[in-house]
Amino acid sequence: MIECRNLGKSYGTVQAVSDISLSLDEHEFLSILGPSGCGKSTLLRLIAGLEVPSQGQVFLHGQEISGRKIILPPERRKFGMIFQDFALFPHLSVKDNVGYGAAGSKTEKQQRVNELLELVSLPHLATTMPHQISGGEQQRIAVARALAPRPRLILMDEPFSNLDYQLRQQLRRDIREILKHEGVATVLVTHDQVEAITFSDRMLLMQKGKVVQEGTPAEIYQNPQTIWASSFVGEANHLPVEWQNDSLKTPLGELNVPFEIGRNARIMMVRPEDFKLESVPADQANGIVKSVDFSGSVQNVGVLLKSGASVQVSGSPHLLWNQEDSVKITAERYLCFNSSGNRLNGIPE
């Protein structure tokens, strides 16, 4: 439905977004994940038509809507927007906010407003003013307002950041359900990996104005393209490695990897849940337990390796560890990265 080709935006000498291509299908939920200042909001605004691209184009159903010469103004794109600070019109009541963009006759509008207030389960707030309702309620109203003109696409810029943790989770689920119910495609911009992972069908990971990786949340988690991606999405342990005598020397011992991978490997990455810990006598151990964090379903263990590096291990609490336990630690799954931070093994892209 939406396609961006080689999209770029620069402000003076600052390149906010460079050479981004992406496509979005009907009904698809895409999230754009990245640290603040990576250009993700600019990308969203380029799609919305609020910014004019410096290069590249945006297509809607194959028709160019943004380019260097042609810009379909935002009001004619039928894209709904949801903002971090909700951006409800403070001078309008809740129902007038929702009805602001609705089309049709007075009764049609009325009907749409009621239907949407029902959908976000806030019909009792219809006549209140925005400042009288809570943040979570405001964001639901903002969603209802964005849905009122039956948009083709919903664009959300950090919509949950202004809400507290508990509310955020609840609202994320609710809004996802509402949007799925309306069957509208959605682009979510966020810096929160949990949000991106739980909300979307597909993720676009951005860094410094460029796309680092694109894929389903599971793909990106399991096969991060770069060291940076591995630590931005999920927890990661990074250990230095060295290729010696046809085997890979690691702080966990020697590993057998193919020559073409091992030769260039400089760093290995292991997810905390991919370690295996065994209790062994001190002389056979390669690490000592230094901290234990028990939090119900998960146990996080900090292990100091003989090499001097320390790693975080997480696992089920069936076997409880104590400080100063001697352990043998092995990695059941790992990825190798070269000196420029790119992944060498695992599923090729």
Binding site: L72, P73, A87, F89, G101
Partner: protein
């Protein structure tokens, strides 16, 4: 498919058109000044220029020190100390702003001239017979003008100094005192240097008003650039000479605008990190409290209470002689002119501010700045700059019609209310623009993004979102323009149609015929209207972050 580049293009076009329209007066002055047949400049230099420069110099020096003394010390007393009556004085010190310079000048001329009540009473008491028997300070002099203008202009300095003192972190002053400085010493060593940029802004605003003042100078027979322009125009109709005088005056303004802008930048850096904590006021008691109160009462008395009281008394005395139909027709004219200008000004101000908000081009922002400089151009200069191109236009049309059809069209634009409103807009649009800009500043850009993503155009968004949200600032902007138009004298005098007068021009006319008592009703009305923005300012004073009057 409509391109939004085109839409913002039409906004840019609008902004640039406005700039050209508003730069017209200055351009026409330059063209006219350059078109002098003989060397007017040399003539001006050898005749009137030395007098103008001398008077201007003494006026600047006098009003500068006067406003500095009154404004800084009252600002300090109000913000840093506590004495009985301080709360009342806090707003009462603003009251003189309601008096235009020329009205207070009229009152003091009437009061202090040879035949006025003060001198007559003195002669009666001491048995003097004529002016040869005693010495009395001449009111119609540079000294008189300095005194009168200092009395009505010090509130600029007071307002800004007070705000600056309040914004200073109390900790800084406490550090000063802990290091062994007395209150007085920490004022001189810490507070005053920190407040210097704000005070400089206040003084430069007061000095710009002084340079632009026409009525006071004319009534006190002090020859300066503004009266020079007026008299050159009406006395000799020597347009190039008047234009050259106007341009020389504008050069002074460039200097003060630079000073003001520069100080504003510095002020920002001085108050950026300051925390708005409540400072403990230094309590004054006994003789010191009385001195403080009397010190604050002095400018309020002579700048407001006394002249207002006299005007009321004279209005009551002359009640039977007042031609009420004349008053109502003048008041009606003033009301319509001020109302129409305020309305157009607010609409244009909003459109202009919205245009700059939508545009990211530096050109457009610069253009908006140029429009807002009109506020710094004195009335006679604006009047001349507007009159010249309009008169040229009328003459050209008239000549063409005479040649082609044998009909004379006469003056179509000049000599009508239209030109007057245009001149007002050139001068006062900056007020409306500034207020609209600060109104927009309080609305997040996400409001219009939300609105546009909901299918509304820029103009619909302006109407449905911004305008309802900005009602307050628009009202304030309209009020400021309204009051300034009511008070405006020189441009109105130069441009008003034949047989047409406003409250201000009639009052001035009475005063020049020494019929001040008859004018008191007119003057009182102007002062009463002028009180509105003072009340408005007073309300803003109470807000946590005070805004500056006439922040352009």
């Amino acid at each position: 498919m409509i391109s939004s580049l085109k839409i913002s293009g039409s906004w840019n076009l609008f902004t640039l058109t406005m700039v050209i329209l508003f730069a017209l007066p200055v351009i026409s002055l330059m063209v006219t000044a350059g078109s002098a047949e003989e060397n007017v400049w040399e003539h001006l230099l050898s005749t009137v220029m030395p007098g103008y420069l001398g008077n201007t110099f003494w006026l600047m020096l006098g009003v500068g020190s006067g406003t500095l003394l009154l404004g800084v010390s009252s600002g300090w007393l109000i913000s840093m100390t506590e004495f009985p009556g301080r709360r009342v004085m806090e707003w009462a010190l603003l009251l003189p702003l309601a008096f235009p310079g020329y009205i207070i000048a009229m009152v003091y001329v009437e009061l202090l001239e040879y035949s006025g009540p003060v001198q007559s009473q003195l002669r009666l008491w001491f048995g003097w017979n004529s002016f040869q028997d005693y010495w009395f300070p001449p009111i119609a002099s540079v000294g008189g003008a300095v005194t009168v203008l200092s009395l009505v202009l010090y509130p600029y300095v007071y307002l800004l100094a007070r705000t600056a003192f309040l914004q200073q972190s109390a900790a800084l002053l406490e550090v000063g005192r802990m290091l062994g400085k007395s209150l007085k010493n920490s004022f001189i060593n810490v507070a005053l240097p920190l407040a210097r940029p704000a005070i400089a802004i206040g003084v430069s605003l007061a000095l710009m008003e002084t340079l632009a003042d026409f009525g006071t100078m004319q009534l006190f027979a002090v020859q300066t650039f503004t009266t020079g322009i007026y008299n050159t125009w009406f006395g000799t109709y020597n347009a190039p000479a008047a234009a050259q005088l106007s341009l020389s005056l504008l050069m002074f303004f460039c200097f003060f605008i630079f000073l003001e802008r520069y100080s504003r930048r510095k002020q920002r850096s001085h108050t950026k990190d300051s925390i708005m904590n409540v400072q403990p006021r230094y309590p004054l008691s006994g003789i010191r409290a009385i001195t403080a109160l009397v010190f604050c009462l002095l400018p309020v008395t002579f700048g407001f209470a006394l002249p207002a009281g006299l005007l009321i008394q004279w209005a009551l005395e002359s009640w039977r002689n007042v031609m009420l139909d004349r008053f109502f027709s003048d008041a009606g004219n003033s009301l319509v002119l001020a109302g129409v200008t305020a309305f157009i000004g607010v609409v244009l101000g909003i459109l202009l501010a919205y245009g700059t908000r939508l545009s990211k081009r530096r050109r457009v922002h610069l253009a908006a700045r140029i429009v807002s400089l009109g506020y710094a151009i004195p009335g006679p200069v604006v009047a001349l700059g507007v009159l010249l191109p309009f008169a040229w236009f009328d003459r050209t049309i008239d000549a063409w019609f005479k040649e082609s059809y044998g009909i004379s069209t006469g003056y179509i634009l000049s000599g009508t209310v239209f030109i007057l409103i245009f001149a007002y807009l050139v001068r006062f649009l900056a007020l409306a623009f500034g207020a609209a800009e600060s109104g927009f500043g309080r609305i997040t850009p996400q409001m219009e993004e939300a609105s546009r993503s909901l299918g509304k155009t820029n103009l619909q968004t302006l109407k449905q979102v911004h305008v309802p949200l900005m009602r307050g600032s628009m009202l304030a902007a309209g009020l400021l323009v309204f009051v300034d138009v009511m008070k405006e004298l020189p441009a109105t005098l130069m441009l008003q149609p034949f047989n047409f007068s406003t409250l201000a021009t009639r009052a001035y006319g009475y005063a020049t015929e020494e019929l001040l008592k008859e004018a008191s009703l007119w003057c009182l009305t102007i002062v009463a209207v002028g009180l509105f923005p003072v009340l408005f300012l007073n309300r803003q004073l109470r807000e946590t972050s005070p805004r500056h009057y006439k922040e352009i």
